[in-house]
C-alpha cells in the first residue's frame, strides 16, 4: 500500500526517509517493576491456594501447641495416679449444664442404688445425681431409675489411715478453712457391691439400713419425712481419738458425740478417718479435681497424658524424619551421582535393608538395646536403620533425572567440581521432592510408633514420665465397653493428626513441585 502511494521501490528507499529514534542514550528493555518471586515465595503462593492444606497445617500447629503447652501448665503429670478418681468421665466446666462433657455417667439403678447416691448428696451437700431421667417398673416388678450420676461426686467418702502428724495437719486445715473434710465414722455395714465399685470400702453407708445382715440389699430406713437416719459411731467423750475440729450439724445432742477417728495399728499411731474425698483431694493436692478428658483405669489424667504422648510422638517423628533426611540425601546423592558399580553396590545394600520387615527390625532393636539405652532410643535407632532407604532412593532418582541435563554438563565443562555439581546444581532442583518425602514420613513414624507401643513391642509402661498414644490406646481398649472416652480421645487425636499430615503433605507436594500437581489425586 505504501509503495503504491509513494511510488518507490522497497529496495530503494531514499536515505532521507530514515531518521534515528534517538541518539542520546543506549536502549534497554523495560525494567521489571515487580519484585522477583523466589522459589519459596512461589511455593507459598501456590500452597496458600490449597485451602485444605492450609487448614491441615493450622490443625497440625494447634495439635503441636497442645502437645507443648499442656504439659507445662497442667496440674497433673504422667506420674499422677489417683486411687479413687479412676475411670472418671470427661468434664469441661463450660458444659456444666449441657448434658454432656459434664463429668456425668448414665446408669440404670435399683431403688437401693438410687438412694445410695442420694445419701451421698444428703451428707456432703453435693448431689451425686445430676438428673433423674426416667423412673419405671421393670419386667421383674422392681423399680428402676435411669439417672445421670456425677462421676466426681459419687465417690463420696473413703476411709483413710493417717499418721498422727497427717491427722493433726488435716484438722488444722479444717479449722483454718472452715471446710469439713473429716466426717463422723459410720457403723460398719456389710455393704452391697455398689459401694465397692468405687473402691471406698462402703464408706458411704452412713445411714440406717433395713437389713443389717450380710445379705443386705443396701436399702435404707427412712424417717417419716423421707430423710435418711444417721448411723454414726457415737461416744460420750467429745474428743474421742483426739478429735478437736469442725463438727457436723446434729452432733453432740444429749451428751452423745459422734466419733471422728479410730486409733489404729499396733502402736496406735494411725488414725482411721472417714473423709469427703473431693475435699480431701483439694487438701492433698491444692487444687480441685477436674479432668477435661476424664481419667483412665489408673486414675491418670487423660488430657495431660495425651499431650505428653503427643509431644513424644511428634518429637520422635521429627527426629526420625530429619536424621533420615540427612543420611538419605548423602547416600542417595553419592549413589545417584556416581552411578556405575558404586551405585550398584549401594543399591544392593539399601535393597537388603529395605527388605527386612520393619516389625522385625524394631523387635530386634528392642530385644538388644532396650535394657542398655532405654526403649525410646532403641526405637529411634530402629526407625533410622531402615527409614533412610526411602529418602535415598528418591534422591537417587532425582539425580539420575538431572545429572545428564545440559546445564549440569555445561557446569562440568566449565570445570565445576563434583561437590559443586551435587550441592549447587543438582540438589536444589530435587529439593522439593525430597522435602515432601521427608514430611510424608512423619505420619508413618507416628503410626508405627503407636502400633508398636500398642502391641507392647516397645514397653513404656514402666516409664514414670512418658507415655505413648499406643500405650493409652491399649489401656483404653480394656475399658472400651464402659468407658469409651478413654480410647476416644487418643484415637481421635491420632486420626486427626494423620489426616492433617497427609493433607498438608499433598499441599506441600503440589506447592514445591508444580509439575507433579495432583499426581495421585
Amino acid at each position: 500500500m505504501t509503495t503504491n502511494q509513494n511510488n518507490f521501490n522497497l529496495n530503494d528507499i531514499p536515505q532521507e526517509k530514515f531518521e534515528f529514534v534517538q541518539l542520546n542514550e543506549t536502549l534497554h528493555d523495560e525494567r521489571i517493576k515487580t519484585k522477583a518471586i523466589g522459589y519459596v515465595g512461589d511455593a507459598w503462593i501456590r500452597f496458600r491456594k490449597d485451602k485444605s492444606a492450609v487448614i491441615a497445617f493450622i490443625l497440625i500447629l494447634v495439635l503441636a501447641l497442645f502437645a507443648i503447652i499442656v504439659p507445662l501448665l497442667s496440674s497433673y503429670t504422667v506420674e499422677f495416679r489417683d486411687a479413687y478418681y479412676r475411670n472418671i468421665m470427661p468434664r469441661l466446666p463450660l458444659f456444666k449444664n449441657a448434658g454432656f462433657w459434664d463429668g456425668g455417667k448414665n446408669l440404670t439403678l435399683n431403688k437401693a442404688g438410687y438412694l445410695y447416691y442420694q445419701a451421698i448428696g444428703a451428707e456432703t451437700g453435693k448431689s451425686a445425681i445430676i438428673s433423674l431421667k426416667k423412673e419405671y417398673v421393670d419386667s421383674t416388678g422392681e423399680m428402676r431409675y435411669d439417672v445421670r450420676t456425677d462421676s466426681y461426686h459419687r465417690i463420696g467418702f473413703v476411709y483413710q489411715n493417717l499418721s498422727q502428724s497427717e491427722y493433726e495437719s488435716l484438722m488444722a486445715y479444717q479449722n483454718e478453712t472452715g471446710k469439713q473434710v473429716i466426717y463422723p465414722l459410720a457403723k460398719t455395714h456389710n455393704a452391697t457391691s455398689e459401694a465397692y465399685v468405687n473402691g471406698n470400702d462402703g464408706a458411704n453407708f452412713w445411714y440406717k439400713l433395713v437389713d443389717e445382715s450380710r445379705t443386705t440389699s443396701g436399702e435404707p430406713v427412712l424417717d417419716e419425712n423421707g430423710n435418711f437416719i444417721p448411723n454414726y459411731v457415737t461416744s460420750s467423750n467429745e474428743n474421742e481419738a483426739g478429735y478437736n475440729s469442725l463438727r457436723i450439724e446434729g452432733d453432740g445432742q444429749d451428751g452423745v458425740w459422734y466419733v471422728y477417728a479410730f486409733r489404729n495399728g499396733r502402736t496406735g499411731n494411725y488414725y482411721k478417718v472417714r473423709v469427703n474425698y473431693e475435699e480431701y483431694f483439694i487438701y492433698k493436692n491444692g487444687f480441685s479435681p477436674n479432668f477435661i478428658f476424664g481419667t483412665n483405669v489408673h486414675g491418670q489424667d487423660i488430657f495431660t497424658c495425651l499431650a505428653i504422648a503427643a509431644r513424644f510422638s511428634l518429637l520422635l517423628a521429627i527426629a526420625v524424619a530429619s536424621i533420615n533426611f540427612i543420611i538419605g540425601v548423602i547416600y542417595g546423592s553419592v549413589a545417584g551421582y556416581y552411578g556405575g558399580w558404586v551405585d550398584m553396590l549401594m543399591e544392593r545394600i539399601s535393597d537388603i535393608l529395605a527388605s527386612v520387615p520393619f516389625m522385625v527390625v524394631a523387635t530386634l532393636f528392642q530385644l538388644h538395646l532396650a535394657e542398655k539405652v532405654g526403649p525410646v532410643i532403641s526405637l529411634l535407632f530402629a526407625f533410622i536403620m531402615t527409614g533412610w532407604v526411602g529418602t535415598a532412593s528418591r534422591v537417587r532418582t532425582q539425580f539420575y533425572r538431572f545429572k545428564g541435563q545440559e546445564y549440569v554438563l555445561a557446569a562440568r565443562t566449565l570445570g565445576a567440581s563434583d561437590r559443586r555439581l551435587i550441592f549447587k546444581h543438582i540438589f536444589p532442583n530435587s529439593l522439593g521432592t525430597i522435602i515432601t518425602g521427608a514430611v510424608m514420613t512423619i505420619p508413618g513414624v507416628i503410626f508405627s510408633e503407636s502400633m508398636l507401643s500398642y502391641l507392647h513391642i516397645i514397653n513404656l509402661d514402666t516409664s514414670r514420665t512418658l507415655t505413648s498414644i499406643g500405650t493409652m490406646l491399649s489401656q483404653g481398649q480394656a475399658q472400651l465397653q464402659n468407658y469409651p472416652h478413654e480410647i476416644l480421645f487418643p484415637a481421635l487425636f491420632i486420626a486427626i493428626l494423620e489426616i492433617s499430615f497427609n493433607l498438608f503433605g499433598n499441599g506441600l507436594r503440589d506447592a514445591l513441585n508444580p509439575s507433579l500437581r495432583g499426581a495421585d489425586n
Partner: protein
C-alpha cells in the same frame, strides 16, 4: 522372540537377587537372634539339668556359624524349622505355623474379596464424574479413610457393632465352638475384623483406580475411539479400563500375596489366632525359634510380592518388558 528371552533373563536375575537378599537377611537376623541371651532356665520351670542337656543337644553351645549351617541344612534337607521352646513345647514350628496360617488367610481373603471390587467401582465412578460433586465427596472420604489408622476403625467397629448393637461377638469364635473355619458362626465372628481391615483397602483402591483411569481417559486413543463411533460406555470398557488395569492388576496381585502376612494389630484386637498373633507371642515369651522362622516368613512374603508385581507388569502389558529396556 528376543523380547521373551529378555524377560526370561530378567526373571532369573530378579530371583537370583532375591535369593541373595534372602540369604543375607536370614544370616543377619540369625546372628542377631543367637546373640540374645536365652531365657532363664528357671522361667522354663523344668529340671535345670534337663534344660541344659536339651540346649546342648540342640546345638546351642556350638559356634553361631555352625548353628547357622545346621539350621539351613535342617530346612533344606528335612524341612525342619526347629521346635517351639517357650510355647507349643517341642512341636515343630512349621506345623504350628501351618495351623495358624488359615485364620490369617481367611480373614484377609474375605477382606480383599469385599474391598477390591468396591474400591474399583468407587474409583471408576469417581473418575467418570471427575471434578463433579460425586468425585469431590469420594476423594475427600478416601483421604480421610486412607489416613486414619486401621486400629481406630477396629475400636469403632468393636464399640458400635459388638457392644452397642451386639450384632457380632467381641472376639473371634474358637474352632471348637464354631465347628470349622468356614462355618457360619466363624464367619459372623470374623465380620468385625474384616470390616476394620477393609476401610483402608477400599480407600486405597478407590484412589488408585481413580488416578489411573482419569489419566487414561485423557489419552488420544480415547478421543479416537469416540470419534470412530463407539459410545462412551464402549470406549471406557474396551479401551480405558484395559489400559488402567495394566497398573491396577499388579496391585491386586500384591494384595493377594499380602494376605499371608495379615495385620498384627487387627489380629491382636480381635483375638484372631493367626500368624500375627504367633509373632507377638513369640516376642513376648521370648521363643526365638518361632521369631526366627516368622522373620524368614515375613521377609519372604515381602520379597516375593515385590518380584511378582514387577514381573506381572511385563506379562500383562507387552509394552513393558523390564529386561529389554536396557
Amino acid at each position: 522372540m528376543s523380547n521373551r528371552q529378555g524377560m526370561g533373563r530378567y526373571i532369573v536375575q530378579r530371583i537370583l537377587y532375591m535369593l541373595l537378599t534372602m540369604f543375607v537377611i536370614t544370616l543377619m537376623c540369625f546372628i542377631l537372634i543367637k546373640l540374645l541371651p536365652l531365657p532363664l532356665i528357671k522361667e522354663q520351670g523344668r529340671d535345670p539339668t534337663l534344660v541344659l542337656l536339651r540346649r546342648e543337644k540342640m546345638g546351642y553351645n556350638k559356634p553361631i556359624m555352625v548353628q547357622f549351617f545346621l539350621y539351613m541344612k535342617g530346612i533344606f534337607t528335612e524341612w525342619y524349622w526347629g521346635v517351639g521352646e517357650q510355647m507349643y513345647d517341642s512341636l515343630p514350628i512349621w506345623d504350628v505355623m501351618m495351623q495358624k496360617l488359615p485364620y490369617t488367610v481367611v480373614v484377609n481373603l474375605y477382606s480383599i474379596l469385599i474391598s477390591i471390587p468396591l474400591g474399583l467401582l468407587l474409583g471408576i465412578y469417581a473418575a467418570l464424574k471427575k471434578n463433579k460433586w460425586q468425585d469431590a465427596t469420594i476423594s475427600t472420604l478416601v483421604m480421610v479413610f486412607i489416613s486414619v489408622p486401621s486400629y481406630v476403625y477396629a475400636f469403632l467397629v468393636q464399640y458400635i457393632f459388638c457392644f452397642k448393637l451386639q450384632w457380632f461377638p467381641l472376639l473371634l469364635a474358637s474352632e471348637s465352638e464354631a465347628g470349622s473355619l468356614m462355618s457360619w458362626t466363624m464367619f459372623k465372628s470374623m465380620v468385625p475384623a474384616v470390616m476394620s481391615l477393609s476401610f483402608g483397602v477400599i480407600a486405597g483402591f478407590t484412589r488408585y483406580t481413580r488416578a489411573e483411569l482419569s489419566e487414561v481417559l485423557t489419552g488420544d486413543y480415547m478421543l479416537l475411539a469416540r470419534t470412530k463411533g463407539l459410545t462412551k460406555r464402549q470406549a471406557i470398557s474396551r479401551h480405558a479400563m484395559r489400559n488402567a488395569m495394566v497398573v491396577i492388576l499388579p496391585m491386586i496381585i500384591g494384595e493377594f500375596i499380602g494376605i499371608l502376612g495379615g495385620s498384627l494389630i487387627i489380629e491382636n484386637i480381635f483375638g484372631i489366632p493367626g500368624i500375627g498373633n504367633l509373632y507377638i507371642n513369640s516376642i513376648n515369651l521370648r521363643d526365638y525359634n518361632f521369631f526366627m522362622a516368622l522373620t524368614i516368613f515375613y521377609t519372604l512374603i515381602g520379597l516375593v510380592s515385590g518380584i511378582v508385581i514387577d514381573i506381572s507388569y511385563g506379562f500383562i502389558d507387552p509394552r513393558i518388558r523390564m529386561g529389554s529396556k536396557k
